[in-house]
Every structure is written in C-alpha cells, then in structure tokens.
C-alpha cells in the first residue's frame, strides 16, 4: 500500500514528469524537427498591426508569397508592403469566409476620424489552384480548415451554441492547443505517426523521408490524383465563391489578381496538363476575364523545378521561395514593384 | 432470543451455507468487519440471510432497513435483529 503523499512529494513527482517531458521533447526534436509555419492567424495579426498595400489570400501556398513580400519590401525600400493570409487546405468557399469574416472587418475598420485605419490597401491577390475548385464529398461538415485555422473565439462559441461540441468545431481548440505549444514536437506531432516514423528511419539509417520504392509510389499517387482532378474541378459552390471574392474585392476598389500557383513539374503528366490543368486554366481565366480582373497562370511557367519543392510535392521549399520571389518580381508579378494608381 | 443466540444462529448459517466451519475464523476478533469487503457474504447471500433471519427469528425486516448499515457485519446483524425483537415485544 503506497504511503500518503505530501506536498513535497507531489511537487517532486510533478517536477520529474515535467523534466522527462521537456527532455523527450528536446531529444525528439532532433529526430523529427518541426518548423512553425506561417498560418492564417499570423497573417491576420500582421494585417491588424500594419497597413499593407497588398493582401494575398490563398491556401498554404500563400507562405511563398510571404517571402515574395519580403523581397518586394527590400526592392521598394518599404517594410510591410505585402501581407499574406495563407489558409491551409484551401478551397474557394473557405477563402470567401475568411474574406468576409476576418478580413473585411479589418479592411473597412475606421478610426475616430472616420477614415479607414488601413488606408494603404490597394491590391488583392487571390492564389488558387485546381484543387480549390473541388468540393468535399465525404460525410460531416466540410471545410474543417475554417475552425482549425480561421475562426476567432467568437466563431467557436457561436458554433458550439448552435450545434454543441462536435468533431467539426473541435478543430478550433485542437489548433489552439497546438499554437500554445508551437515549439513542442510532441504537441505538433500528436495524431500523426511522424515521431514514430522518424525514429524508425533513424534506426534504419534511412536519410530520406521515403525509400526509392515509396518515392515512386508516392509520385504515382500524386500523378493519378492530378489526372483525376478534372472530374471534380469547377464545383458550382466553389465557382460561386470565387465570383463573390472577386466581386467583393472589386467593390472595395482593389486592383484584383487571380494567380494560379506553381505545381511540381514531376506531378503533372501530359494527361494532367491537357486535362485538369488546361481545364482549370480556362475555367479560372474565364471567370477572371468576365469580371475584369488580372489573371496570371504560373502553374508550369516558372523556373521552379522539382528540387524547389518540399517532400510533400506540394509546397515550395526555402530555396524555391527565394527563387520564385526573385523571378516573379522580375516577370509576371513585376507590376507589384510600382505603387498602384487606384484609390479606394 | 438473546444477542448471543442471534450471533450463534448467524455463524451457524454462514458455516452451513458458505464457510463450512470457517466462518468464525474468517470474521476473526472484529465482529464489525464488513461482510461484503471481506468475502464473508455477497449480495445474493445477503438476501438469503435476511430471509433466513425473518424465518428463524420470527421478525419482520422493513424494506427501508435492508442496507449494509444494518447487515454488513456480524455485530450490525445482531444489533439490528435484537432491536427488532425488542420492538416486537413492547
């Protein structure tokens, strides 16, 4: 029978547990390091604190535009010119939600003098790609990236009042928990097999994320997914959302651009290029032209090669971000180097 | 019926039905030792004991009294049954 505890023993026990937790986190960070990524809330914070000229709204690829924004500021000699608002997992309906519920209140906020607090805003760039125009078809409420990445506390409370705590709004607290412990690899890796897989690779002496066979299999799966994309692109609710985003942007007097984000070249087969990529180009450019907004397709037209993309085949790595930023400002996005003429 | 008679009756019943001569050893010196917690009797056994006491001691046990507070040890049983018998006489 264990002895009754004292406050001293409880404190020592807790200290021991905490010590081991911290030690494990530090050690595991060497094996399975995490890198805090720029999220939508970081973008909202930057926008709230600043007065940028350009807002970039889009999926996680918006992180690449954060680097572009830094290059732009360097070239124009003005800090904080561009704020990117990256929404992980993307999709056009959630972009519209973000614009309406998180950005518009900040864009239209006025000071005590009645003037807009963020009066420098002139441009909106919407980054998208074919995947954004496909709707989820599974059960449950879609767009779980909204509670996880985009909601403020009030949105969470209102949703719980409406529906009770459920697997959808749970994502809000899940991500809050992860944000509170951003540097902890244990917290960031919960629910994934990242740590276990990294340890296995370390033991096996495997330097890369995947073995050559796994790499080939992964690439094949990607190619198949992109080729099959033409069956789902252009879902009506997504296109309606796209139109509404552009309408709102234009109604605010913003110079508006739709940019199709680069894809890893190896993932685009000839079939995919002629199918999904080509069809989405026509779809998006059609809407942009109809609404009189600038359209730039960077899907395959940049100098980014396979080595500029991360292991996930989707996002651009640090080297690629710098390459893209320099190239884009010298080429298709060079118009950003000049202050816009329009006035809201 | 004296308390010692009631005590003997319960021990004999426990021996006859559950412990075959070992009931007193199991209870030991502490006659307030819990029957339930010490494996002397279980829930089924309680019911049978109550029915037996009603028949053997000619006493009516009120439903509100059927609880561990009155039956979960030898001492409690003897105390309760004695009190009921005294109440019946007066």
């Amino acid at each position: 029978m264990e002895e009754s505890s004292t406050w001293k023993s409880v404190f020592l026990c807790a200290a021991g547990a905490l010590a081991l937790l911290v030690l494990a986190d530090v050690l595991l960070a060497r094996v399975a390091p995490t890198q805090p990524l720029r999220e939508l809330r970081d973008g909202i914070s930057d926008f709230r604190a600043g007065d940028p000229e350009i807002l970039v709204l889009g999926s996680s690829h918006g992180r690449t535009f954060h680097v572009l924004g830094q290059e732009l500021s360097r070239r124009r000699g003005a800090p904080g010119l561009l704020v990117s608002i990256p929404l992980e997992n993307g999709k056009l309906v959630p972009y519209e939600w973000v614009l309406k519920n998180r950005l518009l209140p900040l864009i239209t906020a006025t000071g005590t003098n009645g003037e807009r607090m963020r009066g420098n805003l002139r441009r909106l760039i919407l980054i998208t790609e074919w995947w954004d125009s496909c709707s989820f078809t599974g059960p449950g409420r879609p767009y779980w990236n909204l509670p996880g990445r985009a909601w403020a506390f009030e949105h969470y409370v209102n949703d719980v009042i409406d529906t009770g705590v459920d697997s959808y709004n749970k994502n809000y607290l899940d991500h809050l928990y992860r944000r509170l412990f951003r540097r902890s690899v244990l917290v960031q890796s919960r629910g994934t097999s990242r740590i276990a897989s990294s340890v296995e690779r370390m033991i096996a002496g495997q330097a890369t994320l995947r073995t050559p066979e796994e790499e080939a299999s992964y690439l094949a799966a990607w190619r198949k997914m992109v080729e099959a994309g033409e069956e789902c692109i252009g879902a009506p609710e997504q296109i309606v959302a796209l139109r509404r985003i552009l309408t709102t942007s234009l109604s605010l007097g913003l110079d508006t651009t739709v940019v199709l984000f680069p894809r890893k070249p190896a993932t685009i087969t000839a079939t995919a290029a002629a199918g999904t990529i080509e069809q989405f180009h026509h779809l998006a450019s059609g809407v942009a032209t109809e609404m009189g907004v600038r359209f730039i397709d960077l899907t395959l037209g940049t100098p980014l090669d396979d080595s500029d993309f991360m292991d996930d085949y989707d996002h651009v790595n640090a080297k690629g971000n710098r390459k893209f930023a320099e190239w884009a400002l010298d080429n298709d996005l060079s118009f950003l180097l000049e202050p816009p003429a329009n006035t809201p | 019926m004296q308390p010692s008679d009631i005590r003997r009756l319960v021990i004999d019943w426990l021996d006859d039905n559950y412990h075959f001569g070992e009931a007193e050893a199991l209870i030991g010196d502490d006659e307030d030792k819990s029957f339930l917690r010490n494996g002397v009797l279980d829930s089924l056994g309680f019911v049978k004991l109550i029915l037996h006491l009603e028949d053997a001691c000619n006493v009516q046990i009120d439903r509100k009294d059927v609880s561990p507070a009155n039956f979960d040890s030898l001492l409690k049983v003897v105390t309760y049954v004695s009190a009921q018998l005294t109440k019946a006489r007066t």
């Binding site: 264990e2 002895e3 009754s4 505890s5 004292t6 406050w7 001293k8 023993s9 409880v10 020592l12 026990c13 807790a14 200290a15 021991g16 547990a17 905490l18 010590a19 081991l20 937790l21 494990a24 719980v160 009042i161 529906t163 009770g164 705590v165 697997s167 749970k170 607290l173 899940d174 809050l176 928990y177 244990l186 917290v187 890796s189 919960r190 629910g191 740590i195 276990a196 | 006859d16 039905n17 559950y18 075959f20 001569g21 070992e22 279980d42 829930s43 089924l44 309680f46 019911v47 049978k48 109550i50 029915l51 046990i61 439903r63 509100k64 059927v66 609880s67 507070a69």
Partner: protein
Amino acid sequence: MSFIEVEFLFFLPIVWMVHWLLPRRIGAQNAALLASSYLFFAAWHWKVLGLVIAGTIVDYLVGSYLGRTTGSKESATSRRIALATSLLFGLGALAFFKYEGFFASSINALLMSLGFSSSLPVLKLALPLGISFYTLQRVGYVLDVYWGRHPPARTFLDFAVFTSFFPQVTAGPISRASELLSQLQRPRHLTADLLARGAAAFLMGYVLKGWAGDSIGNDLVNPVFDRSTEFGVLAHWAGVGGYALQVFGDFAGYSLMAIGVGRLFGIELPVNFNFPFLSRSLPEFWRRWHITLNRWLFDYIFTPLTTSRGWFRGRIDTALLVTFLASGLWHGANWTFVLWGALHGLGMIVHRNWDEIYRGWCRRNRAWVQRRKSWWYAAFAWLVTIGFFVLTLVPFRSSNIGAATDFAARMFSSPGDALPPIGINVMLAVLVMIGYHLLETKHFAWCRERYFALPPFVRGLTYGAVIVFLMIKTPVASGTFIYQQF
C-alpha cells in the same frame, strides 16, 4: 466533451482553478461545480439542460416532501404518489429518449408478422448525455429517501450538483446519496494525497482508455467485426477476446479518469471496476465489473423483489433473470442487449444452482471445501467465468441478432481465412492490461511496494515517460467512450 478530448484539456484546468480560488465554503464550491457541470452538459447541447434542470427540480421537491413525511402513516398515500411522480418523470424521460424507437419498431415488426398493419412512429432521438446514468442516480436517491435510508438534500444547490456532477455524468460511476451527496454537503479541501491519487488515477485511466482500449478496438476488433467474412476462425475468437479488453479499457479507463477528476475537486467517487478479469465466478465478476450499476440493480431491483411479501419473495432465480434482463435493456435498446442480459441471468442461475450442489457435497464431506481452494479448481473456474463473459460479448457487440448468430457461427467455421490483425500495438496493449491485473494479485504485490518506495522524483520520471508515450501514440481527439452511448 469527453476526458480524452481537446475540449477537456482547456475545460478542466479553468474550472479547477476557479473552484479552488473560491472561498472554502459549501455554497461557493457547489456553485462552481454546478456552473462547471451545466457548462459540461451545454457543451454537448444546451437544449439538454432543460431536461436535466426539470428532473432536478422534480426530484428535489419530491425528496424534500418525502423527507418531511418520513414515518407518517397519514401521508402514506401522498408519499406513494410523490414517489410515483418522480419515477414517472425520470424513468419516463429515459424510456422516451432511449426506448421509444426500439419498442415501436419491435411492436410494428411483431404485428406485421402476425398479419396486422402497424405504423407506430419510430422516432430517431438523440440520447441526451448521461441520461442512463443520472436517471439511476436520482431514482436511487428518491428511493433511499422514501425508505428513510438517507435524509433528503439540505439545499437545492447541493442536490443539483449531486445529479449533474460532471466527472460522473457521462458514464458513471453511479453514486449513492450516502456517498456523493454527503460529501457535497461539507466543504472540501484539496490535500496532497487527493491531488496525487487523482492525477495517478486519471493517468492510468488515460492509458487504458486513450491508448490500450482504443488500440485493440481500432486495430483488431473493428476490422474483424466489420469485415467478418474475410477473417478465419482464430481471428473471430481473437476479435471477441479483444473486444472484452477493449470494453474494459474503455470503461474502466473512463471510470478511473472520472474518479481522478473527482479527487481533484476533493470528492471521492466510488470504485467502478475492481480488476474483473481476476474473477473466478460470475457473481464475483459482477462484483468487480461496473460495480456501481450492479450494486444499483441489486439494491433497487433484486433485493426488494426477493425480500418482498409478494410473489417474488424468495424466488432468487426468477429475480436474477429479471435483474439481468433489466441490465441488458439498460445497456441498449436492442434485442442483442436483451439477449446478453438473459444469458447473464441464466449464467447466474446456473452458478447459483451449481453452488448449492457443491455446498451440499461440502456439508457431507469437508474435503470438497479444500478442493474448491485448490489451484486447478481456481484455474478452471477462472477459465469458465472469463470464457463465458467473453462469449456473451458476441451479441453485445453485434448490431442485431442475425449478425450475432453469423459471427458466432464463424467462430467455428468461417469463409475467410485471414489471420487476426494483431500488431505490436495490440500486443503491447494486451500485455499492459494483463500486467494491470497481475499487479493487483498478492504474487506481485512486491512490485507495487518497490515502485512506491522509489523517490518521488524518480516516479515522476516514469509518469513523464508514460505521458510522452501517450502523446506519441494517441491523437488529441480519439473516439468516444463505448459506454457513452448508453
């Protein structure tokens, strides 16, 4: 909101701090607990609060009246009416939400099979959180007050906390008034011992529920039950054995967490599982598994029936069957649960009669007493007891009687031949559950003694290691408790 989900990670520290920052007075502490508990309910859905509050008001008023009129012969009729009102409200709500669909669809099916048309509405109602548990707790309270076993609650606040105390509201333990209400009617203090034992119980519960039970369920049980035709005979046996461990991990784990959380608020909730897989008889099993439910069933159904002056007096076997049919029905609105209950009722009857026969042998020859204490008798009894429990889980786990019979048949002959999907995770989980039980036996008491003799900091390192393991192996939001659906 369940204990292993992310909401609780935020909820518990906040309500705990608020509770202990308030003055150490009953009113303040109970007000904090009530607010926390109603928030807990509201997180499931705020509309369920109406039902909870209404039932609390009814039972508080009934309990107060019964308490005032205890022993009064003039009020006997009105006391019975008050009792009936409470039972009708509480059990009526439970019957409506839980059983309307079951009874309506069963009656429809029966009448149609007899050639009549029947279209009783089959409502698909969401079961309000905890209704199966708090209803029994409130019924027990009202009956205890009616029988004069316990005085009524002193204040509405105390009673409201008693009926809604959030650590136990989802899936028990079902507390008696003498256990929980009495604690709520005194100020509580947080001692180092309560904090330590609370945290330890919570962590152990998390291991059992958040990892062990869920691992066995996800990796072994679900695949075998969901794709039964693909698996061979051995896999079916492994699947149902795994399910026994899954339910144990899920429910015993949850109960431990509930007890742990209760201790963090200075409240000692009753033990609900006492190492049931050590049982060597069915009655012993039911004294170790879901202790508070079976205690309730025996206190409020079995004992009153068998000690009454009516037809049931002394009819122990019949009362056992009735009690376990009630248990089966309580577990769910499905004939599979009724079958499960009936099997256990019959099992208890068989055991009781075997026990009578064996005791007859013992009376004639004391050698049979010693034989019962032998290791081989114990081993055989254990095998039969646990084997019986595991096999009765086939209907318990199945969605309907047909699926249950199909599964049972495949335990002897299956079209599939896949082996049971038992990976390292499942093996480790099974070992942990076995170890958990073995450590309770006297043969391994030395392990526990040695461990608790270690310096606290060293023990803390082991707890930290367990937490690291859980963080690696379990997601923040795991599946729900199996028993939450009851």
